[in-house]
C-alpha cells in the first residue's frame, strides 16, 4: 500500500495513465468500464480494505512512453484526469468513494483505490465514469497487441481483473 493522498491531494500531477492489457477493454477507441474495475485481491493487503486500480502518475514526459513500452499496455493507454476523480468524490451518491495514491518506493506508480464498502453497482458506475472521461491513446506502431500481463503500471506483473467479452 502506498501513501494515501485522497482525490484532491497535492503532489499528484493532473493526469494518470492506465495500461489497457486486454483487447476487449477498448473497442474502436472507446474504453469500457472493465478497464477501470479494481482488483479485489489487493484488498487483503490494505489496512483500509480498499481495492486498487493500478496507474502511473504522469509526472513528466517520460511516463507515457515508459508505460506504453510495458506489456500491460499492449492495447493502448487510457489517460485519466485527476479532476475526474475529484468530481466523482464530490458527487452526492459517490462521495469520497475513491482515493488517489502513490505507491511507496516507485516514483510514478500509484493506485485509484475504491472504498471498501461500495456496492458492486456503484463500483461499475464509477469505473464507467472514469472510462467515459478518459482519453484513449493507441499503442505505438509495432507494439505487441497480444492479451496478457497485469495492469498498466510501470512495474512488471500486476494484478489485473479479468475482462469481459461481448455476448454477441
Amino acid at each position: 500500500m502506498g501513501r494515501n493522498v485522497g482525490g484532491a491531494a497535492p503532489g499528484l500531477p493532473p493526469t494518470c495513465l492506465r495500461g489497457l492489457r486486454k483487447k476487449s477493454w477498448a473497442e474502436n477507441g472507446i474504453v469500457v468500464f472493465e478497464a477501470f474495475m479494481p482488483d479485489d485481491n489487493t484488498a487483503a493487503s490494505r489496512s483500509d480494505g480498499g481495492a486498487e486500480t493500478s496507474v502511473n502518475w504522469e509526472d513528466d514526459d517520460t511516463v507515457l512512453p515508459d508505460t506504453q513500452r510495458h506489456s500491460n499496455a499492449a492495447h493502448g493507454v487510457a489517460r485519466v484526469q485527476l479532476s475526474e476523480i475529484r468530481r466523482i468524490n464530490n458527487a452526492p451518491n459517490t462521495r469520497d468513494a475513491l482515493l488517489a495514491e502513490r505507491t511507496a518506493g516507485d516514483p510514478h506508480h500509484g493506485n485509484i483505490v475504491y472504498r471498501r464498502d461500495l456496492a458492486k453497482l456503484h463500483r461499475k458506475m464509477i469505473a464507467t465514469a472514469l472510462a467515459l472521461d478518459c482519453t484513449f491513446i493507441a499503442p505505438p506502431p509495432g507494439m505487441n497487441q497480444s492479451d496478457g500481463g497485469g495492469i498498466g503500471s510501470g512495474r512488471p506483473g500486476g494484478t489485473g481483473r479479468s475482462g469481459s467479452t461481448p455476448a454477441a
Binding site: I30, V32, F33, E34, E84, R87, I88, A91, N93, T94, A119, K120, L121, H122, K124, M125, I126, T128, A129, A131, L132, D133, S162, G163, S164, T165, P166, A167, A168
Partner: protein
C-alpha cells in the same frame, strides 16, 4: 423472386395499401406481398400492356425485406440468449422486453448507437448504450438484488452519476436522458 429492400417505416404503409386495394392480397410470411392479377378489378402498375395482364396470369410476387439499421436493440436478443447464467439471462430478457419499444420510438427521428450486451467472467452481464459523452448501463448480477441501472455523463453535458434498482425504474426517462 425479386426482392425489394424497404425501410421498416414503409412496411405498415405497404401492408395497408395491399389490404385496401382491390385485387391485392397480402401474405405476412416473411412480409411477402403478392399481387393477384386474376382478382376482380386488379391492375398491376404499368402492366396494362404486359403479357401477364393479357393472359390473366399471376404477376411474379416480390418479397419485402426490411432494412434493419433503424433498430438499436436489434443484436441484443441473440446476445442475451447466449448468456450463461439463467438468472442473469432472464433479468436481461425482462429489461429488453420493456426497453425495446421505448428505444424504437426514440430511434424514429434520430440516428442512435446500437445497444450491446456483454457477459463478464464473474457471471454477471450488462446491456450498455454508449454515446460519446453519455453511457446508460443495465447491470445484471446472478443475485438480482445486486442488479441495477446506472447512467453517467461527461461534465460537459451535466456530469451525472445516477443509479438505481431494476424494479421500478423509469425506462422512458432513462432513454430520454441517454438519447436526447
Amino acid at each position: 423472386m425479386p426482392v425489394m429492400p424497404v425501410h421498416p417505416c414503409y412496411i405498415e404503409r405497404i401492408a395497408y395499401a395491399a389490404d385496401t386495394s382491390a385485387g391485392k392480397r397480402k401474405f405476412f410470411d416473411r412480409l411477402q406481398i403478392v399481387f393477384d392479377a386474376t382478382a376482380p378489378g386488379a391492375q398491376a402498375p404499368g402492366a396494362a400492356n404486359s403479357s401477364a395482364a393479357a393472359t390473366g396470369a399471376s404477376t411474379p410476387p416480390f418479397e419485402v425485406e426490411p432494412l434493419r439499421f433503424a433498430d438499436p436493440t436489434l443484436a441484443l436478443h441473440a446476445s442475451i440468449e447466449k448468456l450463461t447464467n439463467a438468472s442473469v439471462r432472464e433479468q436481461a430478457r425482462s429489461v429488453l422486453r420493456d426497453l425495446k419499444p421505448i428505444v424504437l420510438v426514440a430511434a424514429k427521428n434520430k440516428d442512435l448507437p446500437s445497444l450491446r450486451a456483454f457477459e463478464h467472467e464473474d457471471g454477471s452481464a450488462s446491456i450498455e448504450w454508449a454515446f460519446s459523452k453519455k453511457r446508460l448501463t443495465f447491470s445484471f448480477e446472478p443475485d438480482p438484488r445486486e442488479s441495477g441501472w446506472f447512467f453517467v455523463s461527461s461534465p460537459e453535458v451535466g456530469g451525472v452519476l445516477a443509479s438505481g434498482a431494476l424494479s421500478g425504474m423509469q425506462l422512458k426517462l432513462l432513454v430520454d436522458w441517454a438519447a436526447m
